[in-house]
Subunit: 468 residues, 2 copies
């Protein structure tokens, strides 16, 4: 076969190819035999949502011996001639001159990705194969599209991508429970003179953990490069078995120098709109599938966000709205509470009917590094709440004044020894700066309408689950 | 100040701006006072290598009280008028109408990034501040440029970016020593009935580690999406205190279905050339600095690679060249050895004088998943060797035949229990596929000429070092 291989995506998008000889490589989605002595093969290669229809006629030398034995998942290498499609849906199909079987499916009856409807649970149990299905394949392409769009957005806007460390000795970032990382022999732990475990013998010479956020580190780069972002894995050792939590997930964290809370509220709005536009333009095929089969709002929800300005409201005013509305909430509302999901969704879905950025939260429910407002009660924090999900972004202006930062660290009993370097950033050429964190997997879940976050990351890690 | 802020990069690149009022925000690199009653401030904001020269005259209201006290590292917000530069080097400078000091440097005499020459060791000890220097700032921008180029290269070529898991229960990938990840109470380890540590009580219910490679996982996505790549952190718990090793580093791993060894040898060549072109085009300023101050070959080395085809040679022929050359090697050469750095560099630097891809290595020095060649002695592995560094890429065609894979796993005593899912990929629609791994940090080191890999990653993690 010396014909050049082409992707199904490029083939289906091209026009004026009738009569041309082409070659595709991929996997059988379905085979349907016709009484007329030919078979219809739907062949996909992951390059787009649709498979290409291949017509294999019974004069092919291996028609009976192989073509008629093809089942879902078999790998094939096909040469054929482009012809206008007689069926509906697609404009072209291939009339095969050669169908080479590259890989069979062992025992098709027990193939876990057989062409029937599978539960999401079944797919999760076969995470190594599920990307072969329509739904997981579409998720994978949309996930890629969003990741590429994020890098492009920041690159076009003059940000530098920074790889902040995954391993850290700092256990006081406060974002959640941490995993310990060690090479000590667990059966024979070294002890110091006081009888405690001697971490000075460990790989890094001290207790070490997986990071919960790259923010503190990326601030250091922000205060020299002005505009930076991280995009990497972060970890929470929390025993949360929900549809929204992963022990290992990816996070995007931009940080901007000479910026205040309003600036990064604007940045968050621009970024989300940019991402959603990219998905609708570049993955229209996959999004149409999600709208049809998973969540009928999948496309209109994004369009609505793209077309409308985000609302902005102070926390205190949001509390007033919630107190005065007629909604019955499970958790009572009063100034000082951390907004629960029901409150966030009421604001975004019922009150504003579009994304809303809540600004200036009470200091007592926020992290030590957030900038104290002049009222002494609130800090310059923000959350972006979106209809259908609630919080999707959390951010803040950082406390750039050393004495204020120290006050907050003392108040909150944050030890300073591991964070002297962070305090240095306020000693030397400090500037107002601000940033936010976007849970990447949650955005993929939001865009696709997939209700369980375990279905939008290739190999989810959750309590008691580290398979594959 | 209502003038719109502009980056130094955009300002220096623009033309025809004379007389325009502009505003920049950044940090003082140097201040020089003239007897004529004015000061020259070099202001950088990280957006490019060069600072912009600002002329502050003594009629500014805060000239004596503040401008004359400015030192390296102070943060400033400046409004001024663009004028043609009278000095050499730059075409424009700013005549300041307002110099606002945003952040002072506490005790300039002890500021760790004072404007004298610092050793790389000193910079490493202040990794949170070093990106403010010329050299670390240039590294950060080039690192960003390479990362963006990699994503762009794969995106343009139809690859999907896949987030493979960082946490894994598989300890048999063979690429190196692993870090254990746990939430068990180290002072009070749970024991099972046999008295062994009971990992079923651990967060994931079994022994867990940090991944050494995303390859095995990404193969699963390759066999549905055809062209995929990972780009994420990987880990080695090896006590290697060299200039080439990190415990935490970033790796790029493409994987292509229906591809053989020759295909990914071609891909590796295309990718490297694409990256190097991007760096020379987009970061000419930083590369000029590296060529001038760090490594005079920095630019010509990349040009040489871009302009020449890579050589390709079988391992067996490479051994013959090494056996018959007149070079004295520390490690003796014979068929079957793993090439040492001195051998690799001889081939690339002296024999071929350009990058060379060595193909088909003895099976005994390679991993279990590499495809057995028909000779029964070699596997379809490849290394890309480059002048000035040696190996920069290692890859292979994968063993897609289940019975051959099982043979190799048995031979090498690789337990199958954690890799049943990997074997499934050969049971269901298996196809020839191949991929490689690129040590991202090593490429940054190679491009910049920075001799120590600890100087090209923001916060290096090495034995006994997890600071910041």
């Amino acid at each position: 076969m010396t014909v050049k291989v082409e992707s199904v995506d490029s083939l289906l998008k091209s026009t004026g190819r009738e009569g041309e000889e082409v070659r595709v490589q991929g996997w059988i989605r379905t085979r349907r035999d016709s009484k007329a002595g030919l078979s219809f093969l739907a062949v996909h290669d992951g390059s787009c949502f649709d498979p290409i229809q291949v017509i294999a006629e019974n004069h092919l030398h291996n028609y009976q011996s192989e073509v008629q034995r093809l089942t879902t998942g078999c790998a094939v290498d096909i040469v054929g001639t482009v012809k206008p499609s007689e069926g509906k849906g697609q404009s072209i199909e291939l009339l095969a001159s050669e169908v080479q079987v590259v890989g069979w499916v062992e025992d098709p009856d027990t193939y876990p990705m057989s062409p029937k409807r599978h539960t999401m649970e079944h797919l999760r149990e076969h995470a190594h194969l599920r990307v072969r299905t329509n739904v997981s394949g579409a998720v994978a392409r949309v996930r890629n599209c969003i990741a590429q769009a994020i890098h492009r957005f920041y690159h076009e806007n003059g940000f530098n991508y920074v790889h902040t460390p995954i391993l850290t000795a700092s256990d006081c970032e406060g974002a959640g429970e941490m995993f310990r990382v060690s090479t000590l022999d667990m059966e024979n732990l070294p002890r110091n003179e006081q009888g405690a475990i001697d971490y000075s013998k460990d790989f890094f010479g001290e207790e070490s953990f997986l990071t919960v956020s790259g923010q503190l580190n990326v601030e250091s780069y922000c205060l020299a490069l002005s505009k930076v972002y991280t995009f990497g894995p972060t970890f929470r050792a929390e025993n949360s078995n929900t549809t929204r939590h992963l022990a290992e997930f990816w996070m995007v964290e931009p940080e901007v120098a000479f910026a205040d809370l309003a600036d990064i509220a604007d940045l968050s709005e621009q970024m989300l709109k940019y991402i959603f536009k990219a998905v609708l333009e570049e993955r229209a095929d996959d999004m149409a599938f999600f709208a049809q089969r998973i969540d009928k709002e999948a496309i209109s929800r994004l369009e609505n966000i793209i077309e409308n300005d985000f609302a902005r409201i102070n926390y205190s005013d949001a509390i007033e709205i919630l107190e005065n509305c007629k909604e019955k909430f499970e958790f009572p509302v009063s100034w000082g509470i951390d907004l629960a999901s029901e409150h966030e969704r009421y604001l975004a879905e019922k009150h504003f009917k579009k994304p809303v950025i809540v600004l200036n939260y009470p200091k007592d429910i926020k992290a030590f590094y957030m900038r104290m407002n002049d009222d002494g009660k609130t800090v310059a924090a923000m959350d972006v709440l979106a209809p259908g999900i609630g919080e999707i972004i959390g951010g803040a202006q950082r406390e750039e004044r050393l004495e204020k930062l120290d006050e907050r660290m003392d108040e909150m009993n944050i030890p300073k020894d591991h964070l002297d370097w962070y305090r240095d950033l306020r000693r030397y050429g400090t500037v107002p700066h601000a940033g936010f964190g976007l849970g990447f997997d949650r955005i993929v879940s939001y865009v696709t309408g997939m209700g369980n976050i375990r279905d939008v990351i290739p190999f989810p890690r959750t309590p008691k689950n580290i398979s594959f």
